[in-house]
């Protein structure tokens, strides 16, 4: 009995000490972070980049974020919402209350309610569905990347900037594809002469390109992330259209890995992006260098978003000493402050917990040595906010 009591006293003392100073932080139980990502399937390279960048920040902190030890629990959703929901259910049962990692909005839609209804936090490194930006906005949902309309309405700004009069828009026939077209139209001021909807699993675009040839627009806006976008780029160049028609896309339809796989076919693309590797700020220089050193490849915008997400989480964990559930209000307030070094130069949250940030016009050019790079031409939308923020009552 005596022993038992002694143990208790010792444990209480230890706990008190652990709370009181960083000197004993190593005895602190690590904060578990649920990272549900798309790590397999053709889109797996996106999840890989996000995961690698997130873990880079953890590694730089020596297994800690903001001085708080973290345990990142990684699961692959295989791009299946049902899978992801099961994983999230399990993680919530295991007591995890802090989540990130999801790339795709349909997966987000399945996981969101599970996490948020359990009082957990979701800090998004990519997926930015419009419902969480508007009517369904949630005090515990934060998007560090973008709202889904933003990459296409800023592409509309790009088209305006380039003075394009006649456009053809082309997108896969599913929700995100149609959203991209709607977003583009909301900002573009010229004339859209045709809308072409492709099949989601389409790999050959010769038919659509023949239609484009006969329509003879000044430019094409298209939204085809991943393999489809590579196919389109290769075939667009091979058809000889790329000499006459400009191509305008969000960065996600010609990210760095796609560029490597498309080669010269992607030269001359105009892109809207929230980040580029040549952004002149110290945090970005550090990130690009550290990422290249760790993984021997250039980071994508996905990676940049994930790195920012990790550092935002770090700043908030630091503010509450790792007590996410016990001091949830303080943790939320710390997230909202967005007091972290960002690779984007500056970053703020709007009232709906989505970013207020600059979007850039990038141009894919030869850097003089035969290598294609993204040239940051100019800011195309300063302090850009999504259109749903006014619908959010939090």
């Amino acid at each position: 009995m005596k022993n038992h009591a002694l143990h208790r006293i010792a444990a209480a003392l230890l706990l008190a000490l652990a709370g009181s100073g960083p000197a004993l932080a190593q005895t602190q139980k690590p904060v578990k972070i649920g990272f549900i990502g798309t790590l397999s399937t053709p889109a797996g390279y996106i999840g890989e980049d996000e995961h690698d960048a997130f873990m880079l920040a953890v590694k730089e902190g020596g297994g800690k974020l903001g001085g708080v030890p973290v345990d990142v629990v990684v699961e692959d959703d295989g791009l299946k919402p049902a899978n992801a929901k099961q994983i999230a259910d399990k993680m919530v049962q295991d007591g995890i209350r802090l989540f990130t990692g999801i790339t795709f909005s349909n997966v987000m839609a399945a996981v969101g309610p599970t996490v948020l209804n359990a009082g957990g936090f979701y800090v998004s490194l990519n997926s930015g569905p419009s419902n969480y930006a508007g009517k369904a906005c949630n005090k515990n949902f934060f998007s560090v990347a973008f709202e889904n309309d933003s990459y296409s309405d800023t592409a509309g700004d790009v088209a305006n900037e380039l003075g394009i009069k006649k456009m053809v828009v082309m997108a896969p026939n599913y929700q995100a594809g149609r959203d991209a077209v709607t977003g583009f139209k909301s900002a573009y001021k010229g004339q859209i002469i045709d809308e072409i909807y492709t099949k989601l699993d389409q790999s050959d675009f010769s038919v659509e390109l023949a239609r484009v040839r006969s329509l003879a627009p000044d430019a094409i806006f298209q939204f085809h992330p991943g393999g489809a976008g590579i196919n389109l780029a290769k075939q667009f160049a091979n058809s000889g259209l790329s000499d006459k028609i400009k191509m305008i896309t969000p960065i996600y339809s010609m990210d760095d890995r796609m560029l490597a796989a498309s080669g010269a076919a992607a030269k001359g693309y105009y892109l809207s992006s929230l980040w580029s590797a040549d952004l002149p700020n110290d945090q970005n220089k550090h990130f690009v260098q550290a990422f290249e050193q760790a993984y021997h490849r250039i980071p994508t915008a996905y990676a940049a978003q994930a790195y920012d997400t990790a550092n935002l989480i770090a700043s908030a964990l630091k503010a509450v000493g790792g007590d996410v559930t016990g001091r949830a209000d303080a943790f939320r307030a710390a997230l909202l402050k967005a007091d972290f070094p960002t690779v984007r130069g500056h970053f703020k949250f709007a009232a709906n917990h989505y970013p207020i940030q600059d979007w850039y016009l990038l141009h894919i050019e030869d850097d003089g040595t035969g290598k294609l790079v993204y040239k940051n031409v100019k800011v195309i939308a300063r302090d850009h906010v999504d259109p749903y923020v006014s619908q959010c009552k939090m």
Binding site: N173, Y197, N231, A260
Partner: protein, 304 residues
């Protein structure tokens, strides 16, 4: 008019790709009675081997060789290790095993080659366009694809109708048990057919690689369409695979080209837009349903 001709060429090129994939699949399904969901993986393996060979040597011929050897060898290994044990099992076992193999291959390729899609350029001899008609320039690479498909079709016709192996293949498709009873080494015939199918997939892979994204899972995407082709054409018949490929390739290409324009002529845009998009996606399946309604065993079935 030029537009129609260009779209016909696009349809032919797609048909050629489908034929290269369907020829092997239909033989394996028709003669060995194996549903092989790994078939698309050979296409992917071929494309990845080709991209790796080009990255190393810069030569397209090396790429062709690498794709044929890579896909053919992988097919051989898969047959010897897995498929061989499935001949007498029911279709569910085969589907489970070959689906598992397809997933395994995806992972294997991503471990060997990485998750980033590799780059493969168009060989300089096949780059650019030529004028096939006055006012219509068409990419040489796509023309080469059509020619390659036609050559393979002729080669297969010769192999199947003019050689001893072909005779056995035909006999096997008609009545496998009888061939077995006559003392032919059916096991070896099966191994040969399976590897030949994989080889053709590898060839499709190297031809497609300069035009398409070389990526994990590229085989699964096209496999469904390939199954539609062999069902329409008639399982077990290479001629059926040819007819099916042409029909499906043309339907898909012409559907994508003209359905949106046609529906927008008769209907207001808010109706025609979603309707045409769904029709385009469904066109080949509608065709398959119609064919099955009138010819349940496909258009050119192998005789039984």
């Amino acid at each position: 008019m030029l537009m129609l001709f260009e779209q016909l060429l696009n349809g032919l090129q797609y048909s050629a790709l489908l034929f290269l994939l369907a020829a092997g699949l239909t033989l394996v399904f028709g003669i060995m009675n194996v549903i092989n969901l790994t078939h698309g993986s050979f296409y992917m393996v071929g494309a990845f081997c080709a991209a790796a060979a080009v990255a190393k040597t810069g030569s397209f011929l090396a790429a062709v060789l690498a794709a044929l050897v890579g896909a053919g060898l992988y097919g051989l290994v898969v047959e010897l290790l897995v498929i061989r044990h499935l001949y007498r099992r029911d279709h569910l076992d085969q589907v489970l095993a070959t689906l598992g193999l397809a997933l395994f291959t995806d992972e294997l390729v991503s471990i060997l080659f990485g998750r980033s899609p590799p780059f493969m350029s168009i060989p300089s001899a096949l780059a650019g366009s030529v004028h096939v008609l006055p006012g219509l320039a068409y990419p040489v690479m796509r023309l080469a694809f059509i020619v390659a498909g036609a050559l393979v079709a002729v080669g297969l016709w010769w192999l199947i109708s003019r050689t001893r192996v072909g005779m056995l293949v035909r006999a096997g498709a008609d009545d496998g048990e009888m061939v077995d009873a006559l003392g032919v080494n059916v096991q070896r015939l099966f191994t040969l057919i399976f590897s030949l199918g994989a080889l053709l997939c590898g060839f499709a892979g190297v031809m497609a690689a300069p035009l398409l994204a070389v990526q994990i899972g590229m085989g699964e995407r096209i496999l469904i369409t390939t199954f539609v082709v062999i069902v329409v054409g008639g399982v077990g018949s290479v001629r059926g695979a040819l007819v099916g490929s042409l029909l499906i390739g043309m339907t898909d290409a012409l559907g994508r080209a003209f359905i949106p324009t046609l529906t927008s002529m008769v209907l207001p845009p808010q109706l025609s837009d979603p309707l045409s998009a769904s029709l385009v996606s469904a066109s080949i399946y509608i065709l398959m349903a119609i064919v099955l309604l009138f010819k349940p065993r496909g258009l050119v079935p192998a005789r039984h």
